[in-house]
């Protein structure tokens, strides 16, 4: 159970800077998910934490001890790989026992701890099986047990659920969270799947192009994204370009491409004139036959109605842009082709300078 600190960590491969200055502090027992698109540097960051590669510059501390020059086998970490990386020539028991044997734990104690670990991941009966006979989900659990049984200071998971089918993924993401809560290990979970990250983590770290775009709780990042990238990466977002034309106290009038004018809350950092980007979340929007007082409204035409089970996703053409609106499945939804107003409460929009 350790704290982790990255101080301005950089890693270059030749001319490519995969990690371009990452600073992060992780508290004891915290579950942090590093999230981002392919190539953002999240796996490289994980490999740096594990010690499989050394940073080009910057410091990494685990439990306040600098890790520079410390190879992986001396870092007291547990790693779960996307490919599980189980030892194919060993049985389930020997796989899980491997780390304990490296630590010269007594045989009797190994047996007890291995059984406990397998029970935690609900694989108690499969000790003597060979790895080749296990399903994907079972292999996944063995990999987790193998990493947990050594009681590492830090647990690192590299897209561990990517190779599982959808239902199993959903189930496993909560199970991993459960296990982590129970055992209390500081955990770093790398994924490109936002719902996975949001479901499991205490804190999210969004990475893009080698740097941290934003770090915070799921709620913070969702409701107060720092830039359009984060806003569109987490949750769904309608990204509407516009031009700020007039400032009126705490409000600014934005002209949209189609000619509509909306009134938005003025935010610090956003220019009073010039190009802006307005982000609207589909669930903050409603459809109405007439403009609603006190609300912003955009006129458009319903182009698409998709029934998604618990919600309905409606695509509305406004000027030359398709806006997504999400409604509860019981709400009345206009048919395709009907003219409609897209309406939202003042201040539900998020304004950013054009990147």
């Amino acid at each position: 159970m350790a704290t982790v600190e990255l101080i301005d960590v950089r890693k270059s491969f030749g001319t490519v800077e995969a990690v371009a200055g990452v600073s992060l502090r992780i508290a004891q027992g915290e579950f942090v998910a590093i999230l981002g698109p392919s190539g953002c540097g999240k796996t490289t960051t994980l490999n740096l934490l594990a010690g499989f590669i050394e940073p080009t510059s910057g410091e990494i501390l685990i439990d306040s001890k600098p890790m520079a020059g410390t190879p992986p086998h001396r870092r007291n970490i547990g790693v779960v790989f996307q490919s599980y990386a189980l030892f194919p020539h060993l049985s389930v028991f020997d796989n899980v026992a491997f780390g304990l044997r490296m630590r010269k734990v007594a045989s009797a104690e190994i047996a007890t701890r291995v059984r406990q670990a397998l029970d935690i991941v609900q694989l108690g009966t499969l000790e003597e099986r060979s790895i080749r006979q296990l399903s994907g989900g079972q292999q996944q659990r063995v990999a987790l047990a193998r990493a947990l049984v050594i009681e590492p200071a830090l647990l690192l998971l590299d897209e561990p659920l990517s190779n599982l089918d959808a239902n199993l993924r959903e189930q496993m993401r909560f199970e991993i969270r459960e296990i982590q809560r129970r055992v209390g290990i500081t955990t770093v979970f790398v994924t490109h799947d936002q719902s996975e990250a949001m479901a499991a983590a205490d804190r999210l770290v969004i990475m893009n192009k080698g740097i941290i775009a934003q770090a915070g709780t799921v709620r913070e990042i969702y409701t107060a994204p720092r830039d359009p990238f984060v806003a569109s990466f987490i949750g769904q977002a309608n990204v509407i370009p516009g031009k700020a034309v007039e400032v009126n106290g705490s409000q600014v009038r934005i002209e949209l491409p189609g000619g509509d004018i909306v009134v938005a809350s003025r935010l610090p950092g956003v220019p009073n004139d010039g190009s802006v980007v307005m982000i609207l979340r589909p669930e903050d929007l409603t459809l109405s036959n007439e403009p609603v007082p006190g609300h912003n409204a955009l006129a458009g035409t319903v182009k698409r109605v998709s029934f998604l089970g618990s919600t309905v996703n409606i695509g509305v053409q406004v000027a030359d842009q398709m806006i997504s609106v999400v409604a509860h499945r019981d709400q009345a939804v206009p048919e395709e082709g009907r003219p409609v107003y897209v309406v939202w409460k003042k201040a539900a929009e998020k304004l950013f300078p054009k990147p």
Partner: protein
């Protein structure tokens, strides 16, 4: 889908190919039982006199010993060094990796006679004796490309994450190699040992240049004998080599199964 007829034709073709490879050997073994004083097929007799004659020619038995010792030494050295090279070439990225790989595999593309001559010159230039050790070095050079190849292929079949996992669990480099990598590349190493042994034992070109009165391998001995003599002694010697090889194969098949030795898994064997 292969039709039954096609399957039978394929089987027939395979049998023909196997026969083509094996018939010369069977011919030689048959000739060794001849009672005549010259090589003839079909043999007369049968007679064991040429087998007894080997005992009068100690030099063949000595050469057989030299061949075995050289082959063992060359095979072990080539496999050991080849494994190290393979690990470097497959698992590490460094400047000049591609050219280095080409350099290591280069002896494969050179004619044995050229290599033999070059080695002869080399040993002469440095006043090194042409003895069993020189022969081992020569054979190691010609067989190492194959060792490297076999182990590289085996290594590439092992997910590098597995070795990383071992390290993350507390195993240092050597322990990871010993407990994880080695068992997983064992088929490649075994293939390398067997193949390099055979290559070394069979070699004529390089051995021709490096042989000396003190160290002559069996193929060279046979070759020089045939130059002057026409009796079936060499057929008996060759037949003995065949018997030894055959017995070795039989023992391996009984104990481990030749397929498994080369990495054929249980599943594949059962579907035969």
């Amino acid at each position: 889908m292969i039709t039954d007829r096609a399957r039978r034709l394929l089987g027939f073709y395979c049998a023909l190919a196997c026969a083509f490879s094996v018939l010369p050997v069977i011919g030689i073994v048959a000739e060794s039982f001849t009672a005549t004083d010259y090589i003839v097929f079909p043999p007369t007799g049968p007679s064991l006199k040429w087998y007894w004659a080997i005992l009068d020619r100690r030099e063949f038995i000595e050469s057989a010993g030299v061949s075995v010792i050289v082959a063992c030494g060359a095979s072990l050295a080539a496999t050991a060094l080849g494994t190290l090279a393979a690990i470097a070439l497959v698992r590490y990225r460094f400047f000049g990796r591609r050219p280095l790989q080409s350099l290591f595999l280069a002896p494969m593309s050179l004619p044995g006679l050229i290599l033999g001559l070059a080695l002869l010159q080399f040993f002469a230039d440095y006043s090194l004796p042409r003895d069993t050790r020189a022969m081992m070095i020569g054979h190691m050079i010609i067989t190492m490309p194959f060792a490297i190849r076999f182990v590289m292929v085996a290594l590439m079949g092992v997910n590098p994450n597995i070795e990383q996992a071992a390290r993350s669990l507390g195993a240092n480099g050597w322990t990871t190699f010993r407990l994880v990598t080695l068992p997983l590349i064992r088929p490649g190493i075994v293939a390398s040992l067997v193949f390099t042994f055979i290559l070394s034992f069979d070699d004529v070109a390089v051995s021709l240049f490096l042989s000396s009165p003190t160290a002559t391998t069996l193929p060279v001995r046979i070759y020089t004998y045939i130059d002057q003599n026409y009796d079936p002694l060499v057929t008996a010697v060759s037949a003995c080599v065949v018997y030894v090889a055959f017995t070795a194969l039989l023992v391996i098949e009984r104990k481990i199964g030749v397929g498994r030795l080369f990495g054929l898994s249980e599943v594949t064997r059962q579907t035969k």
